[in-house]
């Protein structure tokens, strides 16, 4: 098929087997070089600020205030980290972020799977409508919920609790989870269910014995993708949480802005480095799974 397409343009007869790898090499090498350089440049733009952040956290305060920002630190110091831990309660913040992320993820996975199971496997008359309802949650911005939830929470005494963050974070992530699970459930062959049914398993048994164990990969995807957003949530935490004890990482970092907006930058950068480490480690270890998840999340949704 390829050989047939070829003779249409070249004036000379094309030999049936062109010199090895010629097709690749014939393209101007300039393009390849140029695109490599361009990619390198863009990657530097993406990564250098983060590297700079880390380097700055190791600088002495004076070096930072006077020196050339691109220069390597004149001396490395861990003092900034000591001050960072003195100023804020980073351990507490990380623990809180962890609690909120876990809580929201449990709801997202369990409820997402249940809803997808009801829609995709059990089936009911209004399933199309329910699917449509979930679509709304993907489109509308989270800010719509701030004022109403603030009012509702103060009515039922939920302000300033873990739940006040977990509920909207889980609610707004639920639609994507439902879609990912239902598109996965489509691939479980009908015969599997029929066989289980004949063996006497009811809808609950099938959910626990077949659907749940089979979807472990999708669970990983859903958890990884949502964790990025939940771990870093700022807006819900900032709106609903006041007490120091409940502050998550993004709020904790704000404590580093002192009175009159004065900031101890090197200590702040040290704090930033401490707080991004957990998620960064997870990301670097599991980046294959995470990348796959992000890709499938968008192409299926």
């Amino acid at each position: 098929m390829i050989a047939q397409a070829a003779p249409s343009t070249p004036p000379t007869t094309v030999p049936p087997a062109p010199h090895k790898a010629a097709r690749r090499r014939r393209k101007p090498n300039l393009f390849r070089t140029l695109s490599r350089v361009l990619i390198m440049l863009i990657v530097i733009v993406q990564v250098y600020p983060l590297a700079w952040l880390f380097l700055t956290s190791l600088r002495t305060e004076q070096d930072f205030a006077t020196g050339d920002p691109f220069a390597l630190p004149s001396a490395l110091t861990w003092e900034n980290y000591a001050r960072a831990f003195e100023t804020g309660d980073l351990g507490r913040n990380i623990l809180n972020s962890f609690i909120v992320t876990m809580g929201a993820n449990i709801l997202i996975v369990l409820f997402g799977m249940m809803a997808a199971y009801a829609i995709q496997v059990l089936g009911f008359r209004l399933s199309k409508l329910v699917r449509g309802l979930f679509l709304i949650g993907i489109i509308v911005p989270v800010q719509i919920a701030l004022v109403p939830l603030f009012i509702d929470y103060s009515a039922v005494n939920l302000l300033d609790t873990y739940q006040s963050m977990i509920i909207p974070l889980a609610g707004f992530s639920l639609p994507m989870s439902v879609y990912l699970f239902s598109s996965f459930f489509e691939y479980i062959p009908r015969e599997t269910y029929e066989a289980a049914s004949l063996d006497g398993a009811g809808p609950y048994g099938i959910f626990g014995l077949i659907t749940l164990p089979l979807s472990l990969n999708t669970v990983v995807t859903v958890v990884l993708v949502n964790s990025i957003f939940i771990w870093n949530d700022f807006i819900f935490a900032n709106t609903f949480v006041l007490s120091e004890d409940l502050k998550t990482i993004p709020l904790g970092l704000q404590n580093y802005i002192g009175a009159m907006g004065k900031v101890d930058w090197t200590a702040t950068f040290a704090a930033v480095c401490v707080t991004i480490t957990p998620l960064l480690l997870v990301f670097l270890v599991l980046n294959k799974a995470m990348i796959q998840g992000l890709e499938s999340g968008a192409t299926k949704g």
């Binding site: 361009l38 863009i42 059990l122 004022v147």
Partner: protein, 297 residues
């Protein structure tokens, strides 16, 4: 019988058992607040005194009498445009270039995605320093070196540059995410199609516009919708870096709504603005589907 029913015998209760808990959570967190906002937008209320029904007054105020609203709306559109160019344009370029590489693709994907893992508060801190003038931040220092010293300025207090300056970090943050998605679509383009076109003498540009792009169009629509809805809900970075200032020069609808609600405690009017934001998102998604789908036919 339902076509999508896979289990031959399941009771109605079992459907409810599986469906109700997720639906309740979703209603409490998402659907009900939407209606509540709509309801509140017809009232004047500061959260303490009695609610007062004002009919369409809030809407009239918003459309007719509120200059800040229009300023914020315009800013939000510019913010969106900058984000879209950086995110989708950048993503498409990098994804295309990446397909021509033979080695190191995985590494570049990982590095490129790195900023997406960092919290917005950390990013705001970082960019405040990048834009800083005294001591010179990375950007001003770089301009100085390449001989564009005349452009050095305090990017965040200059009313002409502040909006672009708060938009760029958002673009920077998520371009990797969209790049991944587009890259995955690009490598799924059948090799035979591309090779046939190359043998026919198609240039790189024709190859891209005639073969690759049409093939990835569905994914492009999805990413455009994602980037647009995310751009329209952009809040954290402008709020943290400038809080809308100086003046209103980096005020977005979202930051304006937030301040109206939680600084001026004008819940009614804030709800009116958030209803507008929702409608804006729905219209944007509708427009994208209309424009991009129509071209495909």
């Amino acid at each position: 019988m339902q076509p999508n029913r896979m289990l031959p015998n399941r009771s109605r209760t079992s459907v409810l058992v599986f469906l109700l808990p997720p639906l309740l959570l979703y209603c409490a967190a998402v659907l009900f607040p939407i209606f509540q906002s709509l309801f509140l937008s017809f009232f004047s209320w500061n959260g303490i005194s009695d609610m007062e029904f004002v009919g369409l007054d809030n809407y009239v105020r918003m459309f007719v009498a509120d200059d800040i609203f229009w300023r914020a709306f315009l800013n939000a559109l510019i913010y969106l445009a900058i984000c879209l160019v950086l995110q989708l344009g950048g993503a498409l370029v990098v994804a295309s270039l990446l397909t021509s590489l033979r080695r190191g693709r995985e590494l570049i994907k990982t590095l490129y995605l790195l900023p997406a893992v960092i919290s917005t508060v950390a990013i705001a801190f970082l960019f405040v320093r990048i834009y800083s003038i005294d001591p010179a931040g990375l950007l001003n220092q770089l301009l100085h070196w390449i001989g564009l010293g005349s452009l050095e300025r305090p990017w965040l207090s200059d009313v002409n540059t502040v909006l672009a300056a708060v938009s760029a970090p958002e673009g920077w943050r998520f371009t990797g995410l969209y790049m991944l998605i587009i890259y995955a679509a690009l490598i799924a383009v059948p090799k035979e199609l591309e090779e046939a076109a190359v043998l026919d003498g198609a240039s790189r540009w024709t190859l891209f516009t005639k073969i690759r792009f049409p093939y990835i169009r569905p994914v492009w629509i999805t990413t455009t919708i994602m980037a647009t809805t995310y751009g329209l809900r952009g809040f954290d970075i402008p709020y943290l870096m400038t809080n809308g200032g100086p003046g209103q020069s980096s005020e977005l609808l979202t930051t304006y709504m937030y301040k109206t609600a939680f600084t001026s405690t004008d819940f009614g009017y804030a709800s009116t603005i958030s209803v507008f934001i929702v409608i804006e998102c729905l219209v944007a998604v509708g427009l994208i589907l209309f424009l991009l789908k129509r071209k495909a036919d």
